[in-house]
Subunit: 198 residues, 2 copies
């Protein structure tokens, strides 16, 4: 399974995409992310194609299955989430910045429950589309932890992977919109666990 990230400008063969193909791919991804964000809606692939101004065939050429599209959208959003880390660290002290970031993560996952189902199916099927994504998230969490450790407000002896597992667990068990408050409390709990023992 080749990696060739979702936003890549390179096809599986290694050859650069033609300009029009690349434009279409980007537009599709953009619309897909938007569509999956709508809470109340079943997302129709035909609808996405139409909204992106391309035919259904074009959508399927870029994303051979619904899962491929969901996965690409997921990657794209995670990337955006992780890119936001430096900005957050400038605006707030590390521990608070990290809390803000976890909030965004949960918001993101709860808003996209529809695609969460598909993601679960992907995992169950055995494919591992997360390797790259997980690495990026580990990096993000690691950055927060390091920054916090330097100021003495966060522990340095925690595995970022464990934090990610905790976040995933929260979204899975309290991912419904009406449980948003509970999820918030759980996040507070996790953050408490990440502070150094006094």
């Amino acid at each position: 399974m080749q990696v060739t990230a979702g936003g890549g400008a390179v096809a599986e063969s290694g050859r650069p995409l033609r300009a029009d193909a690349r434009r279409n791919r980007e537009r599709l991804l953009e619309v897909a992310v938007e569509a999956f964000s709508q809470p109340g809606r079943d997302v129709s692939l035909e609808g996405i194609a139409k909204a992106a101004g391309v035919g259904i065939g074009t959508l399927y050429r870029h994303f051979p299955t619904r899962e491929a599209l969901v996965e690409a959208a997921y990657r794209s959003e995670v990337a955006r989430l992780c890119d936001a880390v430096p900005g957050l660290l400038e605006a707030e002290p590390p521990d608070r910045a990290m809390r803000t970031w976890t909030d965004r993560f949960v918001d993101y996952m709860t808003a996209k429950r529809g695609m969460a189902d598909t993601l679960r199916a992907i995992v169950a099927t055995g494919g591992n589309p997360y390797a790259e994504t997980k690495a990026r998230m580990r990096e993000a969490v690691g950055t927060f932890l390091e920054a916090g450790a330097k100021e003495g407000t966060l522990r340095s002896d925690v595995d970022p992977g464990d934090v990610i597992a905790a976040l995933s667990g929260i979204t899975l068990s309290a991912g419904a919109p009406e449980q948003r408050e509970q999820a918030g409390r759980l996040l507070d709990l996790v953050m408490d666990g990440l502070r150094p023992r006094t």
Copy 2:
């Protein structure tokens, strides 16, 4: 032992089903179980209806969604599996009988991978169709454990629920047909853990 294992004669309202309705329901379930057992491929609901000699509308009246049908088929098969317990205990000593039974369980789940996906989806959606089914399985496992304990070949201090969790884990992680041997070894491992310490 009617237990309404899918073949229930009573509608949700509590009113008895009409004779023809009941016949159709049973026939549908029978065909569905058969169809889901074919390793071959995707099961078409339309095909099930036709094979059962009823219209698609009738299928949907009895099982409003694909999930409902899968769930009913699952219950029905679990019931059959659990009903086999006494016979196995007569034919072999408890520990060996239990090993045979776990084999059947794994065979069943691997043969029905198609419906396993749907089952996962049901669980993920939060519905809990397993309460009743799980209780029956606990009972079956408990029976084996008790019988084995009486002969000193199995431990008596194990929670049946844990055993079930282990079995589920095995089917999830080694559920593909080509992993059948590995699954067998895992079952051996579990059985070893269930024997008393010497």
